[in-house]
Symmetry: C2
Subunit: 413 residues, 2 copies
């Protein structure tokens, strides 16, 4: 069964927003086992929208449209779809009531006459409630072709898709696609791919596909099956094989789990606390760890030590070390991690010092040189990195590698 | 003159990557004064690509294709475009030499036979050098229609577009679009729009369009003119009118300047230093300030004080304040800012404490409640915020507002 997407909106045509809806829908539909060969974008123009929808319906079984369901007269998606399916629009009592309640719960706004336009639906259509806005979703079926009209805002389309559209599509295409994301840290992309080249060559069901992410490698294991249980049976041998090859470097097999979550979970399991002392990354490692809800159990305080004086004062890095080896040196990274753990009274600490660029590089210490120290229960490990990106990428790479080293050292405890 | 985009790649159809090339090209072409009514995405499939390209050429003057120029036999864009324009492919000596040099400069890789495929170009085509990869750009013209073939990777397409394609298009469409981005902080989106409603209504050349960004409002002032000087003359009265209405809340009129850059510049101008004491934002404000190259002149050290004990120890927040009013209180934010400035010996400081969510909220102190304290030369200001987003958005909003308040207070000095 084939699907294609028509995203409606002048703001996409002007490049004012990136078309994340198309990527979202594409990923979701691929996982449902639907084949997609076309995406298109068109503005809020009746003639062009009608032509685009007719073309899409002529070549695909299901066309998902997003956007253009708002209350203004510029919003035309529903009117054009009704015309193409030769249906009249009539007011849907349930939707009118839902819109009334929606505004009642948001006391600050009053309903304008415009808003009742959103209660109009094509006759015979399936109406899908919008829990996060006024425009309902609409499903039109005729002659083996289906149009699914969804609202444009990501915070409306995504919950609606997951609650109602996904189950609807799953019924239409019973053989679904299930997957695990095997996430690996501490190993380069090309080396990781070489290590599984044979698995990627002989793949059919499940399949194995690599995804690169700054400082990490993710492999998606995907199986096609009639239900989740059958899919799991197909995927597990592949996942076990990946564990044999990568061992502890796999930090999760779940799509939603991030590296910082894995680190925080590990710290909680071991009843340990951590701190951070950051120079070139200036607070980003702390910021990332503390984006994990509940990180307060394992993280109490941290230090941004950009100046040499701050490294001495807050972390106790010795003046002589800074003078002899410089702020960007393995010795300083060592003393930063050690000193941070001591200052915070934590079990673990990372210390990061480097030259993020674009300025500050020398032939001996070029832009991209970063030292990461990691102290766990008093044992300190220091690693040297040479990143090749711009300032922002070098800092991100340093954060990921600091979390990776911290995780590796915690696993040894 | 009309333009449309055809992005080629199965990875976009599968949702594995977001189609940022389309947004990039759309924004650039809109600024060049070209009209765009269609975008499409198609996979590396000869038949569908040919059909898509023919449709695009039938309705637009210029079709820009991105992707599918790689060395493998899956890459078909050039072959299909040559077929549609009825041109033979022949080897371009200059491109062959450029590819040879490209690999010579990257000693680690050897040229494979595949790579010479990238030196093949349609006869009569304009060949555009790729400074960041092997695939050249190609421009085909016939019967008043133009196809421009560009590589897919953003780090190849963007420099190539700016260096060679933009000037080419500018020649084709001599009346260009020039713009300024007037960036405003410290005022809500709807209020800002109300304040310029009359300007937006009566606009023609220049035009005024709002763009929302977390905690900021940006207005793009755009003029159509034969050259930059004429455009500036058209735009300046509008920009001056915006300055009359928003005054100091405008922190820049340049697209590339960020709020943190404006703050760091202001600190440098005033020869002042700053520090940060962060609880719920956990290092993100420091991270953002220190992403400005050269921020070391104004930022020496900072504190992540997640636990109450850390607030007492590092910042000198009084135990009694924390006990009486709680960690999330105007009193604590006040003492955090004051204490941070003192601890770091800096002229200015921000202190941020709040409940980012999803846990930790109470009826009195709900998720999204954030207090920001700002100390400048010993004068402390505290503001209360109620953010409505998820954990990550609430933290971002807190960072932007902290920078905004800091900027406002610095302007008073």
């Amino acid at each position: 069964m084939t699907v294609e997407f028509v995203c409606v909106g002048t703001e996409i045509l002007l490049g004012n927003i990136v078309n994340t809806n198309a990527a979202y829908l594409a990923k979701k539909c691929a996982l449902l086992g639907l084949s997609c060969y076309h995406q298109s974008v068109v503005g809020d123009n009746e003639e062009r929208l009608e032509e685009t929808l007719r073309t899409a319906l002529s070549r695909s079984d299901i066309v998902i449209l997003s956007g253009g369901l708002g209350p203004t007269k510029d919003d035309l998606t529903k009117e054009v779809a009704a015309k193409v399916f030769e249906k009249e629009l009539h007011e849907d009592a349930h939707t009118r009531q839902r819109i009334e309640e929606y505004f009642k719960n948001r006391k600050s706004r009053t309903v304008t006459e415009n808003n009742w336009k959103q209660a109009m639906v094509p006759e015979g259509a399936i109406v899908v409630d919008n829990d996060n806005g006024t425009a309902p979703g609409i499903i039109l079926e005729a002659d083996g072709k289906t149009a699914i009209l969804l609202p444009g805002p990501p915070n409306e389309i995504q919950p609606m898709f997951e609650k109602d559209i996904e189950p609807y599509l799953n019924k239409r295409q019973p053989e679904g696609i299930y997957s695990h994301m095997v996430k690996i840290c501490g190993i380069g992309e090309s080396r990781a791919e070489t290590m599984v080249a044979d698995l990627m060559d002989e793949q059919s069901n499940p399949t194995l596909a690599p995804y690169a992410k700054t400082g990490e490698v993710h492999f998606r294991v995907t199986a096609k099956a009639k239900d989740e249980e059958t899919a799991e049976k197909l995927m597990q041998p592949m996942i076990q094989e990946l564990y044999k090859r990568f061992g502890d470097q796999i930090y999760t097999t779940e799509e939603a789990v991030t590296l910082e979550e894995a680190v925080v979970t590990l710290l909680k399991e071991k009843h340990m606390t951590v701190t951070t002392a950051e120079s070139c990354t200036g607070g980003l490692t702390a910021g990332r760890l503390l984006n994990v809800s509940g990180a307060s159990d394992v993280y109490k305080e941290g230090y941004v030590t950009y100046a040499n004086e701050a490294k001495e004062k807050l972390l106790g890095v010795s003046h002589k070390t800074l003078e002899t080896y410089g702020a960007v040196s393995p010795q300083t990274a060592h003393e930063m991690a050690e000193g941070a753990a001591k200052a915070a009274g934590s079990d673990a600490a990372v210390g990061i010092t480097g030259i993020a660029g674009p300025g500050g590089g020398t032939p001996e210490k070029p832009v991209g040189l970063v030292y990461i120290g990691c102290s766990v229960n008093g044992n300190v490990r220091v690693e040297e990195f040479h990143f090749q990106g711009n300032r922002s990428k070098n800092r991100d790479a340093a954060v990921v590698n600091a979390l990776t080293i911290l995780r590796e050292e915690l696993l040894k405890v």
